[in-house]
Symmetry: C2
Subunit: 194 residues, 2 copies
Amino acid sequence: MPKLIDRDQRQQEIAEAVWRVIQRDGVGAVSVRDVAAEAGLSTGSLRHVFASKTELLAYSMRLVQERVLARVEAHLAVADPWERALAILDEFLPLDERRRSEMEVNLALIAEGPAHPMLTEIGLDAQRKLRTGCTRILAGLAREGLIASTCDLDAEAMRLHALIDGAAMHVLLGDTDTPQTAQRMIADHLRTLA
Amino acid sequence: MPKLIDRDQRQQEIAEAVWRVIQRDGVGAVSVRDVAAEAGLSTGSLRHVFASKTELLAYSMRLVQERVLARVEAHLAVADPWERALAILDEFLPLDERRRSEMEVNLALIAEGPAHPMLTEIGLDAQRKLRTGCTRILAGLAREGLIASTCDLDAEAMRLHALIDGAAMHVLLGDTDTPQTAQRMIADHLRTLA
DNA sequence: GCTATGCTAGCACACTCGTGCTAATATGGA
DNA sequence: TCCATATTAGCACGAGTGTGCTAGCATAGC
């Protein structure tokens, strides 16, 4: 047998090259050639791992979500329910460079949906997961008596979900909101549910 | 003098062709050739009106915002303050096909920002206007005593703004929320400020 | 050492892109 | 009527696209 590469690691390296290209030049500038060059490979080698551009983009988008999910699961160990809730929600705000780039990539790839329908599917999956995540967070807080148990959990999850994504988008795009004000807004919002 | 066209009308017709292409094939598929064909023109004629693709996209984005702004201003005549507030906010939710397509176009063009920096500028301008709009709406309601006058207007405007854009995005992308549930959520949110 | 094979490099093809440019057309004013 | 010119049509160019394909390389197992 000839040389064997670590396929998973290679895929992740290429996906990270995709992220860099998206951040630097925008998703419209992502080409197989550029991504290969960014990853230090030839297009032939890249295509040995990702047969098509759609596969490449789909994997890149899924990897973002996997990384976020891993960090969220790490926060499940936080003891204090209130701190735990805020720590999890913070993973969906662009509070540092890593989270910011993850969100830029995610938004850019969602916008590319019409050209690669699989991306829409992946984005939708993430959207549904975040919604049920919001529901669970609120249910947990209600169980601990930290928010009013009378409120409509589904409606409040929808509101929290819209608030998170809207705030994240405004921080990404604009100059009016900062990561800190968004973070404070989310915390204040939860407090109003008490 | 030879034949004179109505430049404004021609520009609007072309911009509407851009919208249709974006809706049908995504913003990545927008090419000068396709837009010209969609508008029933040759590329030469189109370039007589829009010298570059950037100009074409910028005008198309601005026209969306102008149309929305015109409808918002029409709602200023609504007598009842509460009804007026809801009517204005409804213009930023994809409640019908027209508003839905306007928002799809707006979101798609924002995502194209890195390739055409002017689009980012235009999107930012709209974002700032909507923010001050939210502030004014809340100030108006507070003046009428319809919401608590104790609340921090700027913070509440930020929250309302995030809520609107987040809800709109979720309706556009997903299958979990409908235009109606988003509309109800916004109204319920305002009621909690009372 | 030899060979089978996973891997790499990169050319080729058919296409599309934005834009510069020219020639033809048609019409309002003199 | 005739001309100046706004408008139209569309070709041409160079660049860039995704993907198919082949030839070579380097190495693990025998």
